[in-house]
């Protein structure tokens, strides 16, 4: 009896798993920005977005170097740089470095046209991009994308959000 009960559970589990996978596919189609059926790696997705936004293939110089936390702290206080948050927007809303704007790596093709005017107005200032920590590549990818789009003074804050909050520095939240 026990074996039969466990067998029934396993069959029900398979039915449930199949239904959920199908449900996930249907749910995905209902999203404003559905996932493609075949996975595309982040750098390739960003490359596609940058190409669509008209990047110049002739840009060959490398972006400026990294920025350390104490230097970023000064730049934030003096408003000496335009800070860009490359993390998904949901994390930006929960908390971000003061004055930072959201330029999430995965929403680059949507967010960049919105920010383009600000980026050009503040064009003389360096752009500083950050993501969660030194473990993530989003900031580097976004910095490279901006560089390809013609922004010459792009730097990366490698320590990212965890380094900033770990030092108990001020943060802003979105309402």
């Amino acid at each position: 009896m026990l074996k039969r009960m466990i067998l029934h559970d396993v069959i029900r589990l398979w039915v449930l798993l199949t239904t959920c996978l199908l449900g996930g596919l249907i749910l995905n189609e209902m999203r404003p920005k559905p996932l493609d059926l075949v996975y595309v790696p982040p750098h390739a997705r960003l490359g596609q977005s940058v190409a669509r936004l008209g990047a110049s293939a002739s840009v060959t110089t490398v972006p400026d170097g990294d920025v350390a936390r104490d230097e970023l702290e000064r730049l934030v206080a003096d408003r000496g740089a335009l800070i860009l948050d490359a993390r998904p927007e949901v994390f930006y809303r929960i908390g971000h470095i003061p004055t930072a704007l959201s330029l999430a790596r995965d929403d680059f093709d949507v967010r960049y046209p919105v920010l383009k005017a600000s980026l050009q107005v503040w064009g003389s200032l360096p752009l500083i991009v950050y993501c969660s920590s030194s473990e993530c590549d989003d900031s580097r990818m976004v910095a490279d994308a901006l560089h390809k789009l013609g922004y010459m003074h792009v730097r990366v804050f490698r320590g990212g959000w965890y380094d900033w909050t770990g030092a108990n520095l001020p943060q802003e939240k979105e309402p």
Partner: protein, 154 residues
Amino acid sequence: MNQERLIRSGLSWLGRIVLGVAFIYAALWKLKSPQDFADNIAAYQLLPPLAVNVFAMGLPVFELVCGLLVLSGFYVRVGALGISSLLLFFGGALTLSQIRGLKIDCGCFGAHSWLDGTPWMAFARDGILLLLALMIYRFAVESSAQSNLARSDR
């Protein structure tokens, strides 16, 4: 005997709340940003590109349903078995990633989650949750078997 049943029932309730809440929370974060979850899955380098996104779309739904089943008490056995299978799958993937020296985000509670911690923390958490899920499954099976016996005696 009654005291033992009471303790089992209490433990089962507590375990169901912990597991249910953990899996519903994890599923909601993954459903919120499926692309990040797909990136997490891809980083493990275990699935082909065609399977990565299908899993990223479907697995959070499965996690959510299993969490709801365990929490609500409706088809607890299936929910607990589902959660056990998921934890074994995640544990296996984590083990392989460590053996291969991959430096990746666990992605257990969605991308960039403060709950993810180090791989060892993820192992420990998976182990504890797996024990809880197996305990709930065992209690539920025993309880169903007793109910069936009582019914057949009548």
